[in-house]
């Protein structure tokens, strides 16, 4: 075991992919000489050269469109979108081209493209640097969407994403970049937890708390706080947002009868809505309470000094747990709306 930050764990995964397959090519803004604005690609251009680790012009659609062409030629591009809020210029190439090329060509042309996206808030950044756009991509057929929450998973998932024959959106929670954890860098990929699966990170029996990315640590903290009040919380890290591992979530909800879903992204049309609907369909008779969502509001990402009023924090998640358990909560006495 090696102790690595999440940023370093991803870096190590990229290094191994570059070393193991000369068809792997990295492309993005500032990823070469600088090593990325978060240093995730630090040292890789020096090691593999400017044609394997390419600094690109400042054009996100250009990055994704050329990645499509490189994949057409048999390469496995790993592209970086510098910040979540910069992905929108590439949206057309991602959903109209990357996502559909395999389907369009009847399986003839594969798009093994990994799209790395530093995402979400909690770091006091300027506008367009804290977005959580994952639901747009989870809605687009043909894409896989994953998000790690700790260094070990980050290391596993980036290697799996690059190895996948399908395009993968890899959302990196920026606020977890510098948190350290144990990583087995020699672990064989074949033995790793499969990419499309969720993970029970804390076992519990009273309520199931489902989340992903940067909120996983908040959820774990909330579980500890809840246990002080005698509430046993089962925390599930989805890891994969497309496909969703509904088997793991429904197995938990059948046990607990209560479901809370939390994410930073806005409420409406979010991952929480999909999990809520899918679990209600599967576990209607086991649910003791309607699923509860604790998410960002339906607002544009606010100014840095206001992000505390937007992000689901420990207390808001505890309040959601209270709602799911029919304990006194913020909506007690109000109509559920």
């Amino acid at each position: 075991m090696t102790t690595l930050t999440m940023a370093k764990a991803i870096n190590e995964g990229l290094r191994q992919a570059l070393a193991g397959d000369d068809r792997v090519v990295l492309m993005g803004e500032d990823i070469g000489t600088l090593g990325g604005v978060y240093r995730v690609t630090d040292g890789l251009q020096a090691e593999f050269g400017p044609r394997r680790v390419m600094d690109s012009p400042l054009a996100e659609s250009g990055i994704l469109g050329t990645a499509v062409g490189m994949a057409y030629r048999g390469y496995r591009p790993v592209v970086e979108i510098q910040f979540d809020g910069f992905i929108y210029p590439a949206f057309d190439q991602i959903v109209s081209q990357v996502a559909r090329m395999h389907y369009r060509t009847g399986g003839a042309v594969r798009m093994p493209i990994t799209i790395r996206v530093p995402f979400a808030g909690g770091i006091g950044a300027a506008e367009h640097h804290s977005d959580s756009p994952e639901a747009y991509f989870a809605h687009a057929a043909g894409l896989r969407v994953v998000s790690p929450s700790d260094p070990a998973d980050a290391y596993t998932l980036i290697r799996q994403a690059i190895a996948s024959e399908d395009p993968v959106l890899y959302f990196e929670p920026k606020r977890r970049y510098h948190v350290k954890g144990d990583v087995d860098v020699d672990a064989a990929l074949a033995d790793a937890r499969p990419m499309g699966t969720a993970r029970v990170v804390e076992a519990g029996s009273d309520v199931t708390l489902v989340t992903y990315g940067g909120v996983v640590q908040v959820a774990k903290d909330a579980a500890i706080a809840a246990s002080d009040e005698g509430i046993s919380v089962e925390v599930i890290d989805l890891r994969s947002l497309s496909p969703l591992d509904l088997d793991t979530v429904s197995a938990s909800v059948r046990k607990t009868g209560r479901l809370v879903i939390s994410h930073e992204a806005p409420l409406s049309g979010g991952i929480g809505a999909e999990v809520s609907a899918a679990i209600t369909e599967r576990c209607f008779y086991q649910l003791e309470h309607a699923p509860v969502r604790v998410t960002g509001h339906d607002i544009p990402y606010p100014a840095a000094k206001l992000e505390g009023a937007h992000l689901p924090d420990l207390d808001r998640i505890l309040d959601g747990i209270d709602r799911a358990l029919d304990r006194p909560n913020s909506l007690t006495g109000a109509e559920e709306r």
Partner: protein
């Protein structure tokens, strides 16, 4: 082209209204236009490009002529199939035969084409099967062919998106160290798209072996080229650091010559070239379009006089190559091709409903697996659905 029905727009710092520029006309603007065969069939010399077609004798020109006639016949037949309800839609290339055959016949089999949906003439040159040309328009598939079988990507519907794909593919060629070339085909409308401009930046930055082949056919559905460009389109590429050639797109010989020159440049590490082939879309945008709503028939008549096929016909007739017998042979070939196209089209089977789930992903996906299973169960609830 006539743009008399367009408002005269004056742009800042320029006292000349844009309709003085006549973007679709030849020999206007700062860049000259390559022409080797005039509209009346005169072979004229251009010392820069003669050598590129020195191997094209009368028999070779007859072969290019036949290609153009066949492709026009395919176009006519497909349009008829649409009118008869056998195709949902068809995008005619009428008038653009020289641009497509001249460039398409310049390519090597290991070059790779990324085109829009109108390049059926290029697809024909690449070796696409006749039935493959109509699968998409009959609605039985979203790609007419396996791109790797003929080294031509599935024609792109999103305007200009394929220029980036060609550039990325060219980067792959470069990394592989081979001397193949990627060719992006697009129209005058596409030049307004960000992707086309980004593609030129990427191609120039990395000196990618790619050709940007723009068929300026004067119209993006109803919008004249003057809505996309205030100067000849060929003038844009040099600003990106890309050499540019403007060619008479209705002159198959000139198009062949400039494309060969651009290919050779790319093969030798010279990087990208931009070609503006000035031509005219003589038909509608698609069979669903009605060009009488937005353009003058006088315009069409003027361009009929510059028809890409008739000028070769005139040349070959004067040269004594095109005799009534050889003309008859070409026409018979075209009719045979059309009959084969028709037979292949109408015998295309409808795909099985369950195939909607195929190839969404290359690897197993639990969400798709669930929906496939459910839909299959649903279909089995119908009489006769037991075999699914």
């Amino acid at each position: 082209m006539t743009i008399d029905n367009q408002p005269a727009i004056t742009h800042r710092g320029d006292e000349n209204p844009i309709d003085d520029v006549r973007l679709g006309e030849l020999n206007l603007g700062a860049i000259d236009t390559v022409q080797l065969l005039t509209p009346t069939g005169q072979r004229i010399s251009d010392l820069r490009y003669d050598a590129w077609v020195s191997d094209i004798g009368d028999q070779q020109l007859l072969s290019l002529y036949e290609d153009m006639v066949v492709v026009r016949r395919i176009d006519t037949e497909a349009t008829a199939l649409q009118r008869q309800g056998e195709l949902g839609l068809w995008p005619p290339l009428l008038g653009q035969e020289a641009s497509q055959i001249g460039s398409g016949r310049a390519l090597r089999s290991d070059d790779f084409v990324f085109s829009s949906y109108r390049e059926n003439g290029v697809a024909y040159c690449r070796g696409a099967g006749l039935t493959d040309l109509v699968r998409v328009w009959r609605g039985t598939a979203q790609s007419g062919w396996n791109p790797y079988d003929i080294n031509m990507a599935t024609p792109q519907v999103i305007i200009g998106a394929q220029t980036l794909h060609a550039t990325g593919y060219a980067l792959g060629i470069q990394a592989d160290g081979t001397d193949s070339v990627a060719v992006a085909y697009f129209g005058d409308g596409a030049t307004s798209e960000g992707d086309v401009n980004e593609a030129m930046i990427f191609a120039a930055t990395y000196a990618a072996p790619v050709i940007f082949f723009c068929q300026n056919n004067q119209w993006a559905i109803s919008e004249p080229v003057t809505l996309q460009a205030q100067r000849p389109i060929a003038e844009r590429a040099p600003g990106f650091g890309i050499p540019s050639i403007r060619v008479d797109g209705n002159d198959v010989l000139a198009v062949l010559a400039v494309t060969r020159a651009a290919l050779e440049r790319a093969r030798n590490g010279g990087g990208p070239t931009f070609i503006e082939a000035v031509t005219y879309r003589m038909g509608p945008h698609t069979t669903a379009d009605d060009p009488t709503r937005y353009r003058d028939t006088a315009d069409l008549e003027k361009w009929k006089a510059k028809d890409p096929i008739s000028r070769v016909e005139a040349y070959l007739a004067t040269a004594g190559i095109l005799t009534p017998e050889s003309a008859e042979a070409v026409a018979t070939t075209a009719d045979t091709v059309a009959a084969e196209l028709r037979a292949g089209c109408i015998s295309l089977p409808d795909p099985d409903p369950m195939t909607v789930f195929d190839n969404v992903y290359a690897e197993a996906h639990t969400g798709i697996a669930r929906q496939r299973d459910h839909y299959s169960r649903y279909l089995r609830t119908f009489v006769g659905g037991d075999d699914r």
